[in-house]
């Protein structure tokens, strides 16, 4: 219920929460602007924040960047990787999670392995992934996949196992076959958890793809010189190497916006898939 409320509040432009959001971002920007100009304004450099380029400078940088096709190329590359990894995680994760929740035997066999692999951070997979997969692109996609995969599976298992036994009993009484119960009870009852897993998972995917690009794509793109590399992670790393601090922050903000948009799209799709949750 609380979730439905937040969704509704955020979608009403002009409502109280909308203006609170605007005010909060404005205050944050002013604090940042003043902080990063503290040396010039007050003669004292505020610690930490004065090292960061001011939002106005970042904005100028962004204006330049959005006219630069190579920036869009980077954004597109990262987006594609996120999309691939996320889609693969859904396609593999949802059936796997459902199978683990439905079959006790399958659960017993697979869950221990799953639980050992799950705590390994996706970034720890990067070196192994580079060794295992033939191309750099595949290694990045694989690490991205892992980022969303475990979250989605865990959510699907949790959602499916939490289904009230009365639903099964009622469906059974009313003449449902096992297949009917799977399609009409287990799937819809798990859908809200799938949506939550996907929304959380896509956020992790963005975090992972950027880091993976920095480590693998960024580090060797120049030397390999092929199609591999690039992406927003590489863009940020390159800006760091080139010493352009405004570009670093502009790249970070682009990732923030991209991540927010991905989650927003998923929330919209999720809301459309689970209409009964937003009816309260």
């Amino acid at each position: 219920m609380a979730k439905a409320f937040v969704l509704r509040a955020m979608s009403t432009v002009g409502g109280d929460d909308f203006w609170r959001g605007i005010a909060s971002i404005a205050v944050f920007l002013i604090f940042w602007e003043v902080g990063s100009r503290s040396q010039a304004l007050f003669g004292i450099a505020f610690p930490w924040i004065s090292q960061i380029p001011a939002p106005s400078a970042v904005l100028q940088e962004l204006v330049v960047l959005v006219q630069d096709p190579s920036f869009w190329m980077s954004a597109l590359l990262s987006t594609l990787r996120v999309f691939e990894g996320f889609l693969a995680a859904m396609v593999v994760g949802i059936p796997l999670g459902l199978a683990m929740a439905v079959s006790r035997t399958f659960y017993g066999i697979t869950f221990p392995v799953f639980e050992v692999l799950r705590p390994i951070p996706p970034l720890a997979w990067v070196p192994a992934s580079i060794i295992f997969w033939p191309t750099q692109e595949l290694s990045i996609a694989f690490v991205t996949f892992l980022g969303a995969f475990f979250t989605i599976v865990i959510n699907v298992i949790g959602g499916a196992q939490a289904i009230d036994v009365r639903y099964f009993q009622a469906a059974r009484s009313m003449g449902s076959s096992t297949w009917d119960i799977f399609c009409r009870i287990i799937l819809p009852a798990t859908l809200p958890s799938i949506v939550v897993g996907a929304t959380v998972g896509v956020g992790i995917t963005w975090a992972v793809v950027v880091a993976a690009e920095m480590i693998s794509g960024g580090g060797s793109a120049g030397s390999v010189g092929g199609a591999a590399g690039g992406g927003l992670g590489f863009f940020i790393w390159n800006s760091y190497v080139g010493g352009s601090y405004t570009q670093i922050v502009a790249g970070m903000i682009s990732i923030g916006i991209a991540g927010y948009l991905s989650s927003a799209v998923l929330r919209k799709i999720g809301k459309w898939l689970t209409p009964w949750l937003s009816q309260y």
Binding site: A170, S173, G175, P188
Partner: protein
Amino acid sequence: MSAQPATARSYSAVPAQPLRKGGVRIADVVKVYGTSEAGILAVDHCTFDVPPGEITVVVGPSGCGKTTLLNAIAGFHSISSGNIYLDDELLCGPRKLKAQPGPDRIVVFQNGALFPWKTNIENVTFGPIMQGLLSRAEAYEKARDMMADAGLRGIEHNYPGEMSSGVRRRVEIVRALMNDPKILLLDEPYRALDSLTKSVMHEALLEVFYKNRVTIFFITHDLEEAIFLGHRVVIMTTRPCRPKKILDIDIPHPRDYSVLTTKRFREFMDETAAAVHEEALKAFAAGEKER
């Protein structure tokens, strides 16, 4: 009557035995949870009849094992020994300890089991469509009629989550009746409702019963509810559950809330209150021991 063609039809087809189906005979039923050495005896050699076309209310302290009995009839749980018959047909017995769940015995659950992801009318039409008895269009038509009949017009396309719990329970009863069950199994369906809503629900249930004449097996721990609704009231002992007292309530049907203030009703209350209270005390003492 004409508002429920399918229900009415199934009864009028057998004029020789009008309104007489759904009788359940519980014969010497025992249920032990866990192993036979270290198990918990939930139902102890329980024998009584649920007469067809009547309301039988089982009263007992919470956790006494009456739901176990209901689950055995519904086919959700097995029994350990004994027999349960539905209209002289064996549901479960020594060779088949667990009955097959079926649309002839529909449960209305304690906290409700409408599917939250389906609209009210999708819930109501679930049974006939699942069983392939009616086409989607036919099922929807019947459902609209039955919902209108139960005073549930206009909420067909709402989700159960949008309704009050009283309305949800009424939708669930309509969903059950859509299956033309021989017997309705109600497991403390009004437990979570406030007393005002409860009284409205009681009269609504009686109305449904007078229209459909479906046998009702009703579980509660509320003695007043039991005597108000039941043709027969079975008072259970605390765990292990066994009938302590069986009363035939001779207050004539149709009943309404004026019954509560009659002398006969008070007599039944006085006659049974002591027995129920005694079992409640035992259950309380046992509960304290378990801790």
